[in-house]
């Protein structure tokens, strides 16, 4: 759901950058603090950033026949928490702009707001809520990833609608217009992303429970911690 370079008018681009700045600064502070108390966490954060980047290189088969890629915000938010994701997401979006020409520098603020701020917070909020209501790890992760993805797409629709209001029905009509165009691909994609995230987390619980415990996703040792090689 990247908004391409040069797509937003200058005022909008600047406004979205200002809107996401506090979250990114807060995330940067959290990271600086974490690195100061535990210098080793720098390496883990680097690995987490690279993991988030590579997640978006996975190709999900989509109903329309084409392939699409997951945003990875749900999984990232559950594993690394939203404040850290705000910073890691910004780094990843910057890398996607300069390494893949996907997204852009002037639209970085808008993309950060939808994918590194709103998406992770919605995903994490959903995750906490489902866990608190007594839901298992599976449903919590599925809903977190699916709703995080949907929230991202809603925010992007609103951002585009504000920049390009409809000729007859104004901003409201434009939200419906952009929203329904994206809905064709994004609703199945949100479900796919939820499903994929669920499968990844289930696999991770089996193969690397220690890392999940270190990240605070698993509080107690699971019943059968078997180490098994993945990949094939």
């Amino acid at each position: 759901m990247h908004i391409a370079e040069g797509y937003l008018p200058p005022l909008h681009a600047a406004a979205w950058a200002v809107a996401s700045a506090p979250f990114v600064v807060h995330g940067a502070r959290a990271v600086v603090q974490q690195v100061r108390t535990d210098p080793d966490s720098k390496l883990l954060l680097g690995a987490a950033g690279a993991f988030s980047f590579v997640l978006s290189a996975l190709k999900i088969p989509s109903v329309t026949g084409s392939c699409s890629h997951p945003t990875g915000t749900g999984l990232g938010a559950v594993l690394f928490r939203p404040p850290v994701m705000a910073l890691l997401g910004t780094v990843v979006l910057f890398f996607q702009a300069v390494l893949l020409a996907h997204g852009g520098l002037t639209t970085l603020g808008a993309n950060v707001f939808s994918m590194a701020v709103v998406g992770p917070w919605v995903a994490y909020g959903t995750y906490r809520l489902v866990r608190r209501l007594g839901g298992g790890l599976g449903p919590a992760v599925f809903l977190a990833a699916a709703l995080g993805d949907l929230a991202t797409y809603c925010v992007t629709s609103v951002q585009l609608a504000l920049a390009f209001p409809d000729a007859t029905s104004g901003v409201g009509g434009a939200v419906v217009k952009f929203g329904s165009i994206f809905a064709i691909t994004q609703i199945p994609l949100a479900v796919s992303e939820g499903l994929l995230t669920l499968l990844v987390v289930r696999l991770l619980v089996r193969v690397s429970p220690d890392e999940l415990r270190r990240l605070g996703v698993l509080p107690t040792p699971p019943a059968t911690p078997t180490a098994k090689e993945v990949g094939a």
Partner: protein
Amino acid sequence: MLPLDAAAYTNRWRPRHPGEKALLSLGLLVLTLVLPTWPGAALTGGVALVLVLGPAGLPGRALWRAVRVPLGFVVTGMLPLLVSLGGDPWLRWEPAGLPQAAQLAGRATAALLCLLLFAATTPLADLLPRLNRIGVPPAVTEVAALTYRFLFLLLESLRAVREAQAGRLGFRTWRTSYRALSGQGAAVFVRAFDRARRLEQGLASRGYTGSLRVQVAARELSAAFVAATCVLLAAVVVATFLLVPR
């Protein structure tokens, strides 16, 4: 390797200071956005295209490979402006949106070329350590630099895993595809954290105190290049206002 990253290390402007290239390409990028699109975007896009193919020496084929996917997004991004909702009939073709759509496509294409002028000439390994000087905390640039170093290893792992899965007919049905994809996600996670742990041990055995020192190649800021950039940017502004239709 990612094509843009490969270009960043092999182009003729590689030895230039990242600040010079940032001034030029981001200057053009800002002008693309703030100047009137016609002829502003045509000028900035044209200048960026000439610079990236000429002095920077990026092969045309490499440029095409880098722009074709984002250009597809530009085209699909135009479509919503060509339809209108509400009124009668509820959904209809909106010819009045055509100038705005053309303007948007022109601006987005020019901005893309300006971004590429920067991305295809400046390696991130040169850029990231220098971000400290403009106020980014060292912890953040170090995490970003680590991300940059890890991501190629992980992309390579991902490719190997994907090939192995394809060789075993892992993408034959939807069911097996999802199983294979979750395997990819989990494998990348496990490898990322395994790499981090091994790096941690390697650093600890060499007396890691918390700062990652890497050698940053010294680059001289060229006053001539900066001056030429300022002249070029001013010329683009003047030309735009001379050519703007009244």
